[in-house]
Symmetry: C2
Subunit: 193 residues, 2 copies
Amino acid sequence: MQLLEERILAEGKVLPGNIIKVDGFLNHRVDTGFMDRIANEFRRYFDVGRITAVLTAEASGIPVATICAHNYGVPLIFAKKAKSDNIENGLYRSEVFSYTYRKTVTLILSTEWLGPSDRVLIIDDFMANGNAVQGLLDIVSQSGAALEGIGIVIEKGFQGGGDRFRAMKGVRYRALAVIDHADETGMSFRKYL
Amino acid sequence: MQLLEERILAEGKVLPGNIIKVDGFLNHRVDTGFMDRIANEFRRYFDVGRITAVLTAEASGIPVATICAHNYGVPLIFAKKAKSDNIENGLYRSEVFSYTYRKTVTLILSTEWLGPSDRVLIIDDFMANGNAVQGLLDIVSQSGAALEGIGIVIEKGFQGGGDRFRAMKGVRYRALAVIDHADETGMSFRKYL
């Protein structure tokens, strides 16, 4: 998505450890009008007319996923990060290793809110090694829901997560911008159709 | 808000410890169409035409605050919960005691995203004792921004937070539903104009 790449170049910062910050429009201060354009771009790749829910994980993916769900006319569901070891019953759960926080967190979702009659589009702001999205896939699988696809705003292509999902049979995956290289001198984007 | 009270009565659950769960439409599975009606209701109490941002705290307030910001045509800003003691510079911060998690958390917001030229509407899903919103007020104060008001979807009136803000001079506060009593036998709402 040309406009997205332009904003990443204009406003993004590369921090040590290959951390790419675009928190001025995506996930700290959120440009809600631009999120409409993101939601529209995802319509090109996914059949949003037949989904029953948008699914994301707390916390930074929630704003963009909320606007997607709103614009597609379906509920937003977000998996929570478990706050204690004392997890109640009635939950789907998946353990994921967080690259950002360098520890394992358990994603949880009440079994009330997702089931076999659902068709889900997973949306997240960033894809690095793909662990968070893998956790969401696990939860979708546990629920018996069908997967429409996985939509990511920005993929860090050099961390392998996106290619993992592109290689999965029967999974529709799309990232709107794929950064293949980033350091203090600049960034380069992957071109793919 | 009549429709909100009806949904709380129809779908809400009261758990031990006066925990009120409405996660089927507000903060786990989010009814995005209903959030439009919430956003419209807040327009009755706040001059959203002159705000420059909606502010909330991660994580459960983000969906409703995102739709408010989207519908008012302004950015959404959310304060994050600090994940380590090693907090970088360039941040507004406020320590708040979390009733839900029974520990102190530090809310942080980059100084880049809020300043003296801003006029802010604080939106959150729940008000209990008011500590999270007090933390957001502290951050607004540190930034030099003006406060348009505080809009809460559901206030637990018996926990005192709402009355604390109603008593503050110069602060416009509105909760769309105020639960004054809740136990396994039912709930009752405060009537106020």
